[in-house]
Homo-oligomer: 647 residues x 2
């Protein structure tokens, strides 16, 4: 298996993403620090730092928070690590060092480090892997440790986590005397492979492999574990024994069968993403084609049957889970921000295995739509659930209270904001992959990449105003002429592209899985220009998506648009966009931080007097205005819909 | 307040309803008898008769069933009473007498009669009115007693129930020392008013009025009751104290405010119907205009905002409840058969208060669609939940398991089959109302009505083949010429009607609230003919019903149609009915017991390769066939949808 590797040291100079990265550095990181320290007024307390202080014996009181509260700190640390790359901040780094020191002081003698169990159930470690997230939290701290080491070169958190992993290794495995368990929420698997990446220690890879391969083996560990739990006193969990896993069986945790046999994406969507990432990573490191095959099958199922046009996944609040193929309700779904972030990460990993536009297209779709919709433009409020249709009446349904029509400041379960922050802070990691002699450009995010190609140090600069237009220019900087390949993704959404090297057209007749590959001896100052035609497209759903028929979603380049009440008044379902309407594009610098908005002539069906009527409908001409979906709910609260009835 | 009264002694000779009534007499009643006696193989046991035998000391064992299991017997008895009117059956009547004798033997000395409490919690009577249905069951037995008395003249069950009511009277009321409670599930209120009707005893009316008026008064009784319950040992109920009333508050039981202040239909839909019926009945008896006003306001809310085109109500499984205005999802809703049956009964009661087509239109809509869809044509299988869209993928959603794609034989909670049976067995009670000098015809159900108008005995016969056509003929039989009024409903769905008396046209320019009123001196043999044009109408939803836009439901006369997979193949959402398509009607005697089916030229959108696409759609011509909604799922299991995408 020939895999591509990530390109490190990419510098973002992109007008779109630089702003987001700045918001993360200047708003989100300090804001989340306050949250972790319970310094935000009018929000759910986090208690996350306090829990560690109590565990370190430096404060008194009781544990408070979800069983995975620790992971909020881990994700914050990882975000800080990423952000410090392009926003150096000695004060912030010192604060992170202090947190790491605190973790060290809270760590038990034997390496154990989870404040819920240290404080609440010290005798019950590892008794409820199904629900209680110990391994999940460990995974996030490992990821943070790797990121912090890679940015700062500091090893303290790595040491803390290696000590903890050593305990985990002694605890879990197929060897006699060990627990044959694996996490109820995947995460540590992918983290261990990262840890293997920076340390080179096989034992971490082996432990990751164990967790991945043990999953779903008969007898199902969680059943045995539950039996054992009946013998001891453990606290009740969020996972009700009367309706374990929300009625979804062990599909909820993707533990219903061994991972290589899984062909359908099932269960909790975030859990699924983290598992699939680990499977892809393990396949990349070990060359295991059976795992690659499983990943590809699952990818097809997710992206061809169970993904919203925004890159959202998870069709039901029940278990925050995948449901059936083509079951994609727009107003009652889950579409958790974390799940789309996971999809971005998974797509990135699949791209390392196979350079195929089908992965980068989805990566881009989730990146510009269903992930960043999770945060307002100021970085102060967050959506956990990202609907494609917000109806005012929906909010008052007690069974659909998960769908908020306004972003919230902070949640008791605060998984999404730090997850989105770490994705934005490391967005440059998704732009390229490379092999020894090829640089693959997956995303058009302006900036610089410095890397070695065919043994030569090269710098590639891309400039443009993506995603608002796609007149893209690449310049090559090399100290000496070198032969290597530059591969450019021609996005699936693009029907007309022009590629030139130093002004000379390159044929796009033969793409390699959606990539235009230019092999030549590059000279310093060579310029590649790529023009991707980006007209507004009327996207339609597969006919089996029953709820989206006779409706279109407007997409321009990678950006999916929506209608908002702020522009169109209420009752958005009463609007009709004629098939023949010309849709005008307009960049409005003052709108929502500068966006292209779409304007078209359409109609509003006049509200009839009665609920049902056979009377002819009256249609009143009306201008229809669409804005990028990610930017909805940044003005006033109101209706929103992505799918527009076409007439 | 001038009210109309029911017309008793109507004989059904209608081809449509006679068949249904025969099915109830010959299939449903014997079938349900077997169910009540646990003689049905492969179904949930009922244990209802057995519970009474145990309570009577004639059998041993434990109580089994829901807390309202007794009511299944009550509804069976009431159905038997109605059915005996036109299907005399001495053997069945003897069996009913035996059941009544058994009830008498099970009744406690003091009159108490509820097998759940008698057997399971003898010391805890009246401790959980919120959840445990004692008063509800009593209500159903009172209704049965009234019906059985009216048909047979036998008073035994009346005596049993009057004894029980006497105990209830001593127990509940605003007087010191009494419980200030009222039922968590309304039913006894309307039953007491019926009991008042046959006995003339004011005390029953007063008790009904107390239950109605005490409802929703502060402090809310159910809170006090819950507090008291904490002092004693009671069995846990289906209503989880952690999420009382499914998060709906006391709106669930319509106990959130005094009934006269209620302006929005809220909570459990069946409960709501039974309350509104009682309010209407109390208004009719007492002339209380404030209650009438409340009923009218609630009626507008239900029928103009919260009712499916089938007459289904209850938009959410959560609490089997009403939700918000215009929130009418077609595939995840509840639309319980019992709720539509309740809507029929309520409409009938509103018609007694005000002869207005808006009531009879809804009565007819529910009657020909959302009620009888609850039973297969053989009377052997039942839907509790009546979706307007059955997608195969829906059934595998664990949170939507309430939506069955096949009728079931019997349920643990077996409320709907006997409720539907009693509605069908008494369908003639909805055809007419009368005042001293006017006969109002609300429904076109062929048969004979014998009544006194302006002091003269009159017989009115109506003949036709409704609902398949509406060439309706009425003949008047009177021993002497008499002046009275005959009023005929011109249905809201009818855009062209012709009315003639003895061949002479009657102007329809001035309808009285939708009724054509003919006053004349009638002679024996006078003939009224009414032709109601019944073309297929394309019904559209209000623009605020976001899920039904760009879709039509086909309705012909009172009958709503649907597409079934059996006729159209799978993926019904992929079909398009052009605006210009001629829809052909065809009576098919061999189809589904003889129905009109609709056939139109349309298209099928070819399934694209990918989930989302901007490619032009390919449309393939295809014939679209629609059948009456009530008859769906009588051939093979498969997709169904009422709302058809129009192009």
């Amino acid at each position: 298996m020939k895999t591509a590797k990530p390109v490190k040291g990419v510098i973002v100079e992109d007008s779109f993403w630089k702003k987001y990265k700045q918001v993360v550095a200047e708003e989100v990181i300090p804001y989340q620090w306050k949250a972790l320290n319970d310094e935000l007024p009018d929000t759910e307390p986090s208690h996350a730092i306090e829990n560690f202080k109590i565990a370190a014996g430096e404060s008194s009181g009781e544990y408070y928070g979800t069983v995975f509260q620790d992971s909020d700190i881990a994700k914050w640390l990882e975000t800080v690590a990423f952000s410090l790359r392009d926003h150096p901040n000695p004060e912030l780094e010192a604060r992170a060092d202090e947190v790491i020191d605190l973790l060290g002081r809270a760590q038990a003698e034997d390496g154990y480090l989870n404040t819920y169990y240290l404080l609440k159930e010290p005798d019950n470690r590892w008794t409820n892997l199904r629900d209680n997230h110990e391994l999940y939290c460990a995974g996030h701290f490992i990821e943070a440790a790797v990121a912090y080491y890679e940015t700062t070169g500091k090893t303290k958190l790595l040491q803390i986590m290696e000590k903890y992993v050593s305990l985990i290794q002694q605890t879990f495995g197929i060897e006699d005397g060990k627990l044959k368990g694996y996490p109820g929420h995947e995460e540590i698997e992918l983290a261990l492979i990262k840890l293997y990446g920076v340390t080179g220690k096989d034992q971490y890879l082996m432990l990751a492999r164990y967790f991945i391969e043990q999953r779903g083996q008969e007898p199902i560990y969680f059943i045995e574990e539950q039996e054992k739990r009946r013998q001891i006193q453990t606290a009740p969990t969020w996972n009700d024994d009367n309706r374990i896993n929300f009625g979804l069986g062990f599909e909820y945790q993707q533990a219903h069968q061994p991972v290589r046999e899984q062909t359908e994406a099932v269960g909790h969507a975030v859990r699924a993403m983290y598992l699939y990432i680990a499977m892809a990573d393990l396949a990349a490191v070990t060359g295991d084609t059976s795992l690659l095959q499983a990943c590809e099958t699952l990818w097809e199922d997710v992206t061809n049957h169970k993904m919203y046009i925004t890159g959202g996944i998870g069709s039901a609040v029940n278990g925050e889970a995948f449901t059936s193929r083509y079951d994609l309700p727009n107003d009652s779904m889950y579409c958790e921000t974390c799940a789309s972030v996971g999809l971005v990460f998974w797509a990135n990993r699949m791209l390392r295995l196979t350079t195929d536009r089908k992965y980068s297209d989805v990566l881009e779709r989730a990146l510009y739509n269903g992930t960043i919709s999770g945060m307002d433009l100021d970085g102060k409020r967050f959506f956990y659930v990202n609907p494609l249709e917000a109806n005012p009446f929906q909010a008052s349904r007690k069974d659909q209270e998960h769908v908020k029509t306004e972003r919230q400041k902070w949640f008791f379960c605060a998984c999404c904001p730090p997850n989105l922050a770490r994705m934005i802070a490391s967005v440059e990691d998704h732009v390229y992959t490379q092999t020894e002699d090829t640089l693959y450009t997956h995303l058009y995010i302006a900036g610089k990449a410095s890397l070695v190609l065919s043994g030569q140090e090269v710098e590639i600069t891309q400039t443009h105003h993506y995603p608002w237009n796609a007149d893209i220019s690449f310049s090559v900087h090399t100290a000496k002429d070198t032969s290597f390949k530059l591969a450019f993704r021609i996005p699936g959404w693009c029907k007309k592209a022009d590629l030139k090297v130093n002004g000379e057209a390159v044929s796009l007749d033969h793409l390699e899985k959606g990539y235009a590959v230019i092999q030549r001896t590059w000279q310093d100052g060579d310029v590649v220009t790529l023009h991707l035609a980006m007209p507004v497209e009327r996207m339609r759903s597969h006919t089996l998506v029953s709820m989206n028929q006779q409706q279109v979603a407007l997409q321009r380049g990678p950006v999916v648009f929506c209608l908002e009440e702020a522009d169109n008044g209420s009752n958005l379902a009463g609007l009709r966009l004629p098939k023949c309407s010309l849709i005008r594009e307009e960049f409005d610098e003052d709108l929502l931080g500068g966006v292209v908005k779409l304007v078209a002539g359409g109609y509003r069906v006049k509200s009839p007097a009665s609920l049902y009527s056979s009377e002819p409908q009256e249609w009143i001409p009306e201008t229809i205005t669409a804005i990028p979906y990610y930017a909805w709910c940044n003005r006033t609260k109101g209706e929103m819909r992505v799918w527009i009835y076409e007439s």
